[in-house]
């Protein structure tokens, strides 16, 4: 909520899913079927996405319950093909974020 932080601008997006694996309604789940929400933040340098539990009854996303993550570093992976979310070498990045 503090917009005056000394960081570069970020663009956010999100996408809902009904399940962890692809199924017939993964593209366009109805609200009642949404169980997971993927929240992305992107800068010039990276895209960071967390897929977290989502409750359609109260619209709450639970960031304590992370189903999956994505991290793409744009400088050497501009097409976002190499997800380095689980690379321990990026621990510095998560520290910085948190």
């Amino acid at each position: 909520t503090d917009r005056c932080f000394n960081e570069e601008p970020v663009a956010f997006s999100q996408y809902p899913r009904p399940a962890d694996t692809p199924q017939w309604n993964s593209d366009k789940p109805k609200l009642k079927d949404i169980r997971i929400m993927g929240y992305s933040m992107r800068t010039i340098d990276y895209r960071y996405t967390l897929w977290v539990q989502f409750d359609p009854n109260n619209f709450r996303a639970n960031f304590e319950d992370v189903h999956a993550g994505e991290l793409y570093m744009m400088e050497n992976d501009p097409n976002q093909d190499n997800n380095v979310y689980n690379n321990t070498s990026h621990g510095w990045f998560f520290k910085k974020l948190l």
Partner: protein, 424 residues
């Protein structure tokens, strides 16, 4: 921009495959010409890569978690909060607000009325040919008509002898001429249907893209480390007759290479068809003598995967699905003052035009479509809606975006230093 009119052009499913965004293959001379007079944002992103949530988000200036619209089946005014929309704000500030084509996503999510009368001064226009969009109108190799994904057509053989976007252009031009004579300030939103599927466009546009020039995506495979939850199985593509006939396995089976090329070819052809419509519309703005006092905004509701990561369509958080073109033409600001009657946007024929247009100004700053509302308000000289508090369900007028007008002064290629948003 004080007191200027607004022409707001929204394209359905257009990723920035445009000459002005560096694409070497596409023929988009009219959009490139607009870019040559505009401030172009090369890193603009939608908030959700599907039509209704994205449109409601940028039209209200609030994120999907605040509109609570993630699908197609609720109307934010009753489901989340009675939020003001951008056109409503202009209407309440003395503008005549007009909607042509697909501006709001039709149906429940805009109360079956495109949010009329809140947002619009008169009932929104929808092209009559729109109802045939999913009819079997595509001639197959068997000579019969199908509901295909790849669908170049002879327009004279189409129902009503036309296509929806052609009708929308005609209506928008008609409204420009009406507004010229009434001399009232207007906010005209024109929503084009293509290149949304089906890729149905006049068949002559195929000539611009010989199949031998069409490549596959640079990365047409599903990335090994992509979490399964992130993958979009492109169901709407699979359900088209021509794709269904390929019997591609669900969810990860790849389309045959030659068909991938055909989809990409038709997407490009549909973009050039769209470019012609934009060219005719902007040329009419010139003809009406309105180019000197009309702000033109050009964007899309989200992008579209063209085979990258083994995906098609939108429905994901990948950049190809969320990144959009975004440009602002503001006479006297992004260009020198334009004298009335001067031609700013002469129509350029993509079949014969050879040339390159360079954006007037370009920003690499990360910007979001949710910022359109405050940006357009500021450009038009209206009071910028206040920033929303953390919980804004009961706040009628506020925005979760930020005006990006301060980026207009940053020179080409330059990315501003930090502390953005603190200036005021």
């Amino acid at each position: 921009g004080d007191g200027m009119n607004v022409l707001f052009i929204i394209v359905d499913d257009l990723r920035p495959v445009l000459g002005c965004y560096g694409d070497k293959l596409v023929k988009s001379p009219n959009i490139d010409q607009l870019a040559s007079q505009s401030m172009v944002f090369s890193n603009a992103y939608a908030q959700q890569a599907v039509c209704a949530p994205s449109r409601v988000s940028f039209l209200t200036g609030r994120r999907p978690d605040t509109t609570r619209l993630y699908d197609f089946y609720s109307y934010w005014r009753v489901h989340a909060g009675n939020y003001s929309t951008m056109p409503q704000y202009f209407k309440e500030n003395g503008y005549v607000t007009l909607s042509v084509g697909k501006v709001f996503h039709p149906g429940v999510s805009s109360n079956y009325s495109d949010d009329y009368p809140y947002s619009w001064s008169i009932p929104p226009f929808h092209p009559s040919a729109e109802k045939h969009e999913n009819d079997k109108t595509c001639r197959g190799k068997d000579g019969k008509l199908h509901a295909n994904l790849v669908c170049p057509v002879n327009v004279t053989e189409m129902p009503e002898g036309t296509l929806p976007d052609i009708q929308s252009t005609e209506e928008a031009i008609h409204l420009l001429n009406v507004m010229k004579s009434t001399r009232q300030k207007f906010f005209l939103a024109v929503g084009y249907h293509k290149p949304h599927i089906p890729l149905r466009y006049p068949q002559e546009f195929l000539k611009l893209y010989p199949l031998e020039n069409i490549t596959l995506a640079p990365d047409p495979w599903v990335p090994k480390k992509l979490p399964s939850v992130a993958y979009n199985p492109w169901m709407d593509i699979r359900q088209r007759d021509d794709v269904e006939a390929l019997n591609v396995s669900f969810p990860y089976g790849a389309l045959p290479d030659d068909f991938q090329r055909q989809i990409r070819q038709s997407y490009y052809a549909a973009v050039s068809y769209l470019d012609v419509q934009i060219g005719l519309l902007l040329s009419a703005l010139d003809d009406a003598g309105l180019s000197n006092n009309t702000i033109v905004v050009f964007t899309a509701d989200h992008g579209w995967s063209l085979g990258e990561h083994g995906e098609w369509a939108k429905y994901s958080n990948f950049d190809v699905a969320t990144r959009v073109p975004l440009m602002f033409y503001v006479p006297g600001m992004t260009t020198s003052p334009v004298s009335q009657g001067a031609r700013v946007f002469p129509y350029l024929d993509p079949f014969s035009y050879i040339g390159v247009s360079v954006p007037q100004g370009q920003s690499k700053q990360m910007v979001e479509l949710v910022s359109l509302f405050p940006t357009l308000a500021e450009l038009a000289g209206l009071q910028v809606p206040p920033a929303c508090p953390e919980m804004s369900f009961g706040v009628v007028l506020c925005t979760e975006g930020r005006s990006i007008v301060h980026y207009f002064n940053i020179s080409e290629g330059e990315v501003g230093e930090g502390k953005e948003g603190c200036a005021d």
